[in-house]
C-alpha cells in the first residue's frame, strides 16, 4: 500500500519540485519568482480570457496525451502524435471547406471529425501494421511517419489547397465550425476555447472505461504487461497492437478538431505547433492513466499559455525547462524503489 500511495503522489511531487527549480532559475535570471508566478496566475486563471486560452491548449493536449497513453498500455511508445495530428488537421480543414453549404451542422461537424479521425487513424495504424507485419520498432516508424506527414502536408498545402496568395487553406463552412464556449454561454470571453473540450473529456473517460472496465482493455493491458503470457492465454497481440495504434492516431486526429473547426477554421503551416510532442510529456506525467491525462494536460496548457503571457518579463524558455524537468523528475521517482 505504501508503494501505491507513493506512486499516486509522484506527479504532484514532480510538479512541485519542477516549480521550485523554475523559481530558482527565474531568481537567477534576476527576476522575483513570486512576482512572475503572480503575473502568470493573473494572466491565466484570474481572467475568463486567460482561462479560455489555457483550456484551449488543454483540449488538444488531452487528445495528444491520450494518443500516447493508450499505446503505452500495450508497451508501445507512440512518438507519432504530431504527424497524426498534422494529417488530421489538413483533412478536417479540407473536408470542412469542401462540404456544400446545404449540409447542416449536425452532419458537417461529425463529417469533419470522421475525416480527422480517419487521417490520424490511418497514420497510426500504419505504424501498428509495420510493427506486426515486419517487426519495425514503433518508435522508429512513428518518427519516420512524422517526417512524411510533415512533408506531405507541406506539399499538399502549397501546391494543392492553399488559397491564392495566402499560406492557408480555404475557410471551412459555417456548418463545420465548432461553437465556441463564449458564443453560447458568454463565459471565457473572446478566448478560442470551444466545445471540443467536452469531446476531449469524453474521450478521456471512454479511454479509462475501455482500459480498466472492458474485456478488450484487459487483454490490451495483459499484452503490455506480459506479452508472452498473453500469447499463451490465446490473446492475439498483433490485433491489439494494430488496433490501439489506429485508435491512438484517431484520437490524436480529434485534437485537430479543436484547432481547425474550433479556432482557426483553416489549415496553415505550423498550426499543430508541437502539440503532438507535448502529448508525450502529458502522458508521462499522467503515468499513462487516461483520467490523470486531464489534470496533466491542464498543467502543461497552463505553462504553455502562461509562459507566453509573461514573456515580457522572463523568456518563455524557462517554462519549457519546467515542463522538461517535471518529466525527468517523474521518471526518476518512478525508477526509484521506495
Amino acid at each position: 500500500m505504501t508503494v501505491r500511495t507513493f506512486r499516486f503522489f509522484i506527479p504532484l511531487l514532480a510538479v512541485a519540485a519542477a516549480a521550485l527549480c523554475g523559481m530558482a532559475i527565474i531568481a537567477l535570471s534576476g527576476r522575483d519568482p513570486f512576482m512572475i508566478f503572480a503575473k502568470l496566475f493573473r494572466a491565466t486563471f484570474a481572467s475568463g480570457y486567460g482561462t479560455g486560452q489555457v483550456l484551449f491548449k488543454t483540449t488538444t493536449l488531452i487528445f495528444t496525451g491520450l494518443a500516447v497513453a493508450l499505446p503505452f498500455r500495450a508497451r508501445l511508445f507512440n512518438i507519432g502524435g504530431e504527424g497524426q495530428l498534422q494529417l488530421a488537421a489538413l483533412a478536417a480543414a479540407i473536408t470542412g471547406a469542401l462540404l456544400p453549404p446545404s449540409v447542416p451542422p449536425v452532419a458537417a461537424l461529425p463529417l469533419s471529425a470522421l475525416a480527422a479521425m480517419a487521417a490520424g487513424g490511418f497514420w497510426g495504424a500504419s505504424a501498428g501494421l509495420l510493427k506486426v507485419r515486419f517487426g519495425v520498432n514503433e518508435v522508429i516508424s512513428t518518427i519516420m511517419l512524422n517526417f512524411i506527414a510533415q512533408a506531405a502536408t507541406g506539399y499538399l498545402l502549397t501546391w494543392r489547397f492553399a488559397e491564392p496568395s495566402s499560406e492557408h487553406t480555404a475557410e471551412i463552412g459555417r456548418a463545420a465550425m465548432m461553437p465556441q464556449i463564449d458564443d453560447l454561454s458568454g463565459l471565457l470571453a473572446g478566448s478560442p476555447a470551444n466545445f471540443t473540450l467536452i469531446l476531449a473529456l469524453g474521450a478521456a473517460l471512454c479511454a479509462a472505461l475501455y482500459l480498466f472496465r472492458s474485456r478488450g482493455g484487459y487483454e490490451l493491458r495483459a499484452v503490455g504487461l506480459q506479452p508472452e503470457a498473453a500469447a499463451w492465454a490465446g490473446i492475439r497481440s498483433g490485433r491489439h497492437v494494430t488496433a490501439v495504434m489506429a485508435v491512438a492516431g484517431a484520437v490524436a486526429g480529434l485534437g485537430a478538431l479543436n484547432l481547425v473547426s474550433g479556432y482557426k477554421h483553416y489549415y496553415e503551416a505550423g498550426l499543430t505547433g508541437g502539440f503532438g510532442f507535448s502529448g508525450i510529456a502529458v502522458a508521462l506525467l499522467a503515468g499513462a492513466h487516461p483520467l490523470w491525462i486531464v489534470p496533466a494536460a491542464l498543467f502543461f496548457g497552463l505553462l504553455e499559455y502562461g509562459g507566453l503571457a509573461v514573456g515580457a518579463y522572463v523568456p518563455k524558455d524557462i517554462f519549457m525547462i519546467i515542463q522538461a524537468l517535471t518529466i525527468l523528475i517523474v521518471i526518476v521517482l518512478n525508477a526509484k524503489k521506495p
Binding site: 472492458s214 493491458r221 504487461l225 506480459q226 508472452e228 503470457a229 499463451w232 492465454a233 490465446g234 492475439r236
Partner: protein, 513 residues
Amino acid sequence: MEHAIRLTSVSKTFGAVKACSKVSLSIRSGTIHAVVGENGAGKSTLAGLIYGMHQPDCGRIEINGTTVSFSSPGEAIAAGIGMVHQHFMLVPTLTVLENVLLGLEKKSLLSPLDLKNSGESIRQLSLKYGMAVDPLARVSTLSVGEEQRVEILKVLYRNARILILDEPTAVLTPLETRQLFAVLRSLAGEGKTILIITHKLDEVLALADTVTVMSRGSVTGTLPCLETSKEELARMMVGRSVLLRVDNPEPSPGNIVLSIENLGYRTATGLGKLEAVSFSVRSGEIFGIAGVEGNGQSELLSLLWGLRERGREVSGKVLFEGADITRKSPGEITRLGVSHIPEDRLKHAVVAGFSVAENMIFGRHREKRFHRGFGFDRQEVSRYALKLGETYDVRCTDHVNTPLGTLSGGNQQKVVVARELDRPGMKLLILAQPTRGVDIGAIEQIHRSIIAARDRGTAIVLVSSELDELISLSTRIGALYKGSFRRVFTREEVLEGRRRGRPFEEELGLCIT
C-alpha cells in the same frame, strides 16, 4: 574442533519483514552443513549475512573464532569466505581461466596477465578435487554442471576456506548432482567448511553432516543428519505433518484423448529437437515425461499448446480426440478443453501486475459466465476468485486488490493450478514442472489436486525434472533423451518401481543421461 562460523542471536529486518530473527548457529570447520526451509524462511538472508551482502541489525557473527562485521562481500572474500550463487556469474565469451582470474588482475592496466602459471594452478586445483574442466575452454561451450565447477574453482582459487552454495543442484542432472556431492565431500575432507542452502531434503540427508531447519525467519532446530528423517525435517519446515508422497490410488484409464504420431521438430537453424516421438494418453491416466532440460520437452510443449516458432519444421501428427491440432492457435486449443500449466509461471502463465482475481480468469476470460456488457461481471469474478482461492488454499487477504506478483511462488502456482484445473469441460491437462519453486506444503496440495483431476477422467501429460515427482504421480513414464524416447516404462513397471523406491529412481535417471 573449532567453529568456522558461529552466529549468536543474529536478527535482520527488511522494512516490516523479519527475515531473520535471533538466529544462532554454529558450524564446525571441515563439515558440510545444510540449511533448509521453505521459500521466504530466511535461508538466503542468512547466507547474505555471512557473506557480507547484508549487515545484521543485532547479534554477533564470528568467523574462525574472531568477531567480524563485513560491510561488503569483498571483505568476506578477504576473510576466506566464498559463495556460489544459484545463478552463475560468468562471462560466456571468456575462457574458464579468464573467468577465474577476473577481478584478480593485480597488474597495471596494459601489462599482460600471467596466464600460463595461473592456468597450471587452476588445472592442478581442478584435478585435486575431481572437477575436470579445461581451463582454456570458452565458458559458452560448457555444460551447466561444468559452469558450476568454474564457479567453485573461482572461489577456491581465492583461497576460500568456507564455501556457501545457494541451491546448487537446482539446475543439475542427477549425474551432475552426484559428481558435485563427491567434490563437496572431498573439499570437506581437506578441512574446508561447506554451507549449503537448499530445499531438497533427499540431498540434505545424502550429503550433509548437520542440518539446520528454518521457518519464518527463525531456526526451528539443528540436527545431525544421521539422526533425522525426511519426514521429520518436512514437519519442522512446515509446522505440521506433510505427506511427502501423495496417495496414488489405482487409475482406471479410458479412451485415448491425445495421441502423438511420429513427431519430428526442427528449428529454423536446422537443429533437430524431436525425432520420431510417438505416445498416447488415455483419459484418467498420467503420462510422465522424464528428461533433462533441453532434450525436446520445450518443443513438445510448444506444439501441444499451439505456439509457433518462426521457421520451424514439424513432421508427424498431434491428434486430440482424433483431430489434428498442429495448426491450431492457443485460443482454439483451449476451447477444445485443454488446460496447461507452463514451466515458466511468471513468463507464461500469469501477469504479475494483475490482481489475483484478474489472474484467476486469465486465459479463461472469454467464458461467458464472467461477462457483463463489454466488460466483466466484477462481482462474479471476485466471487469465483474467492471460491477457487479457498478450495486451493491460496493465501491472500484481498483477491481483488492484491497484485499477484506480491504473493509467494507457491501461492502464485496455486492460482495457476486452480485456474487451469477448474476449466470447464477439461479433457486434457498438460503440466510442466508444476511444483518448481513451490514449498513442500504447497507441493502436497498441488499433487493431490492433480490426482483428483485424473480420477475425474482427465488425461494428463506431466513433464518434470523431479524424478521423485514423476514416479509418485505417473501412470506411465517416458524417458526423453536427445529428442526421442529412450524407454517408456509401462504401468506395471512404474507401479513396481514406486515400491522399489531409490533403485528405480536411479534406473530412470540413467535413461535420461
